[in-house]
């Protein structure tokens, strides 16, 4: 599985997201930006999580929880393609 951002979503290098359909904008922190950039490179959820566990001081269970929260938030803000 990999999350698919809507095609028209603009993300700046600093992690600023603009959804042109709704006019809403959001700010990502560093880790959020890393996740989004990997998703844009079509990396799977498993690959992203593996990378994060290696890079940051966390365990798989905690990461899973935060990762799902993050995906839910992206869905809630209508930033993902339908079905993701």
């Amino acid at each position: 599985m990999h999350m698919k951002l809507k095609k028209n979503i603009a993300i700046s290098e600093t992690g600023y997201i603009f959804n042109p359909s709704t006019g809403e904008s959001f700010t990502l922190n560093q880790i959020g930006l890393e996740i989004i950039n990997m998703a844009k490179e079509n990396k799977s959820d498993d690959d992203i999580k593996k990378y994060l566990v290696q890079k940051y001081d966390t365990d798989e269970t905690s990461l899973e929880r935060y990762y799902l929260d993050f995906i839910e938030m992206l869905k809630q803000y209508q930033l993902l393609e339908n079905g993701d």
């Binding site: 028209n8 603009a10 603009f18 042109p20 359909s21 709704t22 006019g23 809403e24």
Partner: protein, 348 residues
């Protein structure tokens, strides 16, 4: 290119916390590369800020309210025209539009052009007729019931579920969660704007707006969609951003083509939680946030002036997404002599 010299008269100089569209309309016309416009401001009140904005308004005149009779207004405008040779007049208040529509022929006979919806178009989209409008043109609109009395209000809210919106004929809207609140707003609004007051089903969702211009033959000359990012306690946009929502523009084109709409228009739309659009209001004129459209690449006021003068206009095909407007308030220093002149001579 030599710009064409014209004189344009504009109302709605009330740049207050609930601003009229006059000043943003003037800014659009001033930025025209086609026209070199002399701007005549027409004001109903002596403290409408636009009167004193000398860099935008070349000359201002006080005019009588349409409620004093459309003849009095027309007489005053023709008197001003005799001195200023007005080419185009752009009324910007809902409440004055009927008077200008009725005077359209007389104004044109005197060489003053307008570009207004027909009386039929104006009445058809009025708040109290909105449900019929939605049915006729296949547009989603919330249930609305015109109310003339307290007993009718009771009947109306029985049919609709709380919360409901209680709306004035021209301006103002409040959310009511009980019959007591609804009755209170009925009296509050009707005292100011008359009857009927319209009770509308409240649709939960995000409000989006479109400013548009129809050529009177079903063609949409311009349309820009915006989401309010900062809303005042009066529900007015104090900030907004242009958005890319093709369905909104399709909806606008559908309305303009089916009605043959002529003139400026603002659509107030709610996108509900199921991603459906409901038109909650159709304002028959350019809105106060039109300068955002100018900034995003569609000079709708300039296009309206061209259409009024019979100059062909190609429809705008795009606008910049993500352009924002941030409104501000500003204190002008005005000499008492200017105020005195306006009050004693009716002009400045």
């Amino acid at each position: 290119m030599n710009r064409r010299k014209i004189t344009v008269a504009v109302t709605g100089l009330n740049n207050l916390d609930s601003p009229g569209p006059g000043i943003p309309v003037i800014r659009g016309i001033r930025e025209s590369s086609f026209f070199d416009a002399r701007i005549i401001g027409l004001a109903y009140e002596n403290l409408e800020p636009g009167i004193y904005m000398r860099d935008l308004v070349d000359k201002a005149y006080l005019v009588p309210y349409p409620s004093e009779g459309s003849d009095a207004l027309l007489t005053r405008i023709l008197e001003i025209h005799a001195r200023e040779s007005i080419d185009v007049i752009i009324p910007n208040f809902d409440a004055e539009l009927t008077a200008f529509m009725k005077a359209e022929k007389t104004l044109l006979q005197n060489g003053v052009h307008t570009f207004l919806p027909t009386l039929g178009q104006f009445n058809e989209r009025s708040k109290s007729n909105l449900p019929a409008f939605g049915k006729n043109y296949g547009i989603n609109v919330p249930e609305s019931i015109p109310v003339f009395s307290a007993s009718e209000m009771e009947e109306a809210v029985k049919k609709l579920h709380f919360p409901v919106l209680v709306k004035g004929k021209y301006y103002e809207a409040y959310i009511a969660n009980s019959i007591e609140q609804a009755q209170y707003y009925l009296f509050k609004i009707s005292a100011k704007w008359g009857l009927p007051v319209v009770v509308q089903q409240f649709v939960e969702g995000t409000e989006v707006n479109v400013v548009a211009l129809g050529d009177g033959n079903g063609i949409t000359i311009g349309a820009v969609a915006m989401r309010k990012t900062y809303i005042t306690d009066k529900g007015k946009a104090w900030g907004g951003i242009t958005i890319d929502e093709p369905r909104l523009l399709d909806l606008t084109r559908t309305i303009i083509s089916r009605t043959g709409w002529k003139g400026g228009m603002e659509l107030e739309i709610i996108k509900n939680l199921n991603d459906e659009f409901f038109v909650i209001e159709i304002n028959p004129r350019i809105p106060a946030w039109v300068y955002l459209a100018v900034g995003a690449g569609q000079n709708i006021p300039e296009a309206l002036v061209k259409l009024a003068l019979g100059i062909p206009v190609q429809p705008f095909e795009k606008y910049t997404i993500g352009k924002m407007f941030v409104r501000f308030s500003y204190d002008m220093i005005v000499d008492i002599k200017d105020f005195e002149k306006l009050n004693t001579r009716g002009e400045l």
